[in-house]
């Protein structure tokens, strides 16, 4: 599993990589989810494969967070902890796994309001944008 690049922020190297990977995955999954769901529910098999690919990426992050929990806690200030994104990623994962079912699990899908609400809890939108911004600035420096 390849995680994303690390930013120049106050976290140790591995934790920083996890942090950035989590923020980008959250953003990308939220961005892509509506079209994926529409395509799967319209019978597009390729979209089902794409949903599984996204689900696998989130699953890798989720398992890594558990396996390396102590390292993340020790290596990341609490206010930017990637664990803040865990509830939103779990809801996305359930929806994406629902898209891999035959037939797709429509009840597990997130409507527009639920999807928007993922970033409203715990000021997650600011967290995500700040981490992505820090990563982009580090890339540009």
């Amino acid at each position: 599993v390849t995680f994303r690049r690390k930013p120049k922020i106050e976290a140790n190297e591995w934790s920083a990589t996890m942090l950035v990977s989590t923020a980008f995955e959250l953003r990308d999954a939220i961005d892509e989810y509506p079209s994926l769901a529409n395509r799967v529910l319209a019978g597009d098999a390729d979209a089902g494969e794409r949903a599984l690919d996204r689900a696998q990426r989130i699953a890798a992050l989720g398992c890594a967070m558990v396996l390396r929990k102590d390292d993340i806690v020790a290596g990341t200030p609490e206010d930017i902890s990637p664990f803040r994104a865990a509830p939103a990623l779990l809801k996305l994962e359930c929806a994406l796994v629902g898209l891999t079912q035959y037939p797709p699990d429509e009840r597990a899908q997130l409507d527009a309001s639920e999807l928007a609400g993922l970033l409203d809890q715990d000021d997650l939108r600011s967290w995500m944008l700040n981490v992505i911004d820090a990563a982009d600035r580090a890339d540009g420096s």
Binding site: G62, P87, V97, A108
Partner: protein
């Protein structure tokens, strides 16, 4: 258990009903705990067989793994749609989020079994780690009491 069968299970009223005065949030909580633990137990048994096969490079049927993951995902998503019910349950008595956490770890691990073992490495739950999840009081007690 397919996802549609899972929903039939978790939507059906509990018989006998939960102790104390009956109300809808409490019913929702108990239905998801009792069926969630039973599903965790059943799918964990499947996982204990699938994991060593996947680790050794034997073909693991993807549709089977995805159906198991879909069942776990259905329970979690249904429970989290009323997260306040879980979060408001007495933490000291039930620790209900331990059940969601256990289902979460099983879900992620199952999804990784659909990927290449060389790419994924040791990320999925080991069998011993899975066993540890069953030490959570809410899971142990629900299994001891059985459905209802």
């Amino acid at each position: 258990v397919s996802t549609s069968e899972t929903y039939e299970l978790i939507d059906a009223p509990l018989e006998p009903p939960p102790p104390g005065e009956r109300d809808e949030p409490k019913d929702h909580f108990y239905r998801h705990v009792i069926h969630g633990v039973a599903i965790l137990d059943a799918i964990a048994a499947e996982y204990r067989v699938l994991l060593p096969a996947w680790q050794s490079g034997s073909p693991v049927p993807r549709p089977v793994v995805l159906e198991l993951a879909g069942t776990v995902a259905a329970v979690i998503q249904s429970a989290l749609r009323r997260a306040e019910v879980f979060q408001s349950a007495p933490e000291a008595e039930f620790r209900p989020m331990q059940l969601i956490g256990a289902l979460e770890q099983l879900l992620y691990s199952l999804v990784l079994l659909t990927d290449d073992p060389e790419a994924v490495g040791e990320l999925p739950l080991a069998v011993e780690e899975l066993d540890d999840l069953f030490e959570a009081a809410i899971i142990r007690d629900a299994l001891a009491d059985g459905p209802g």
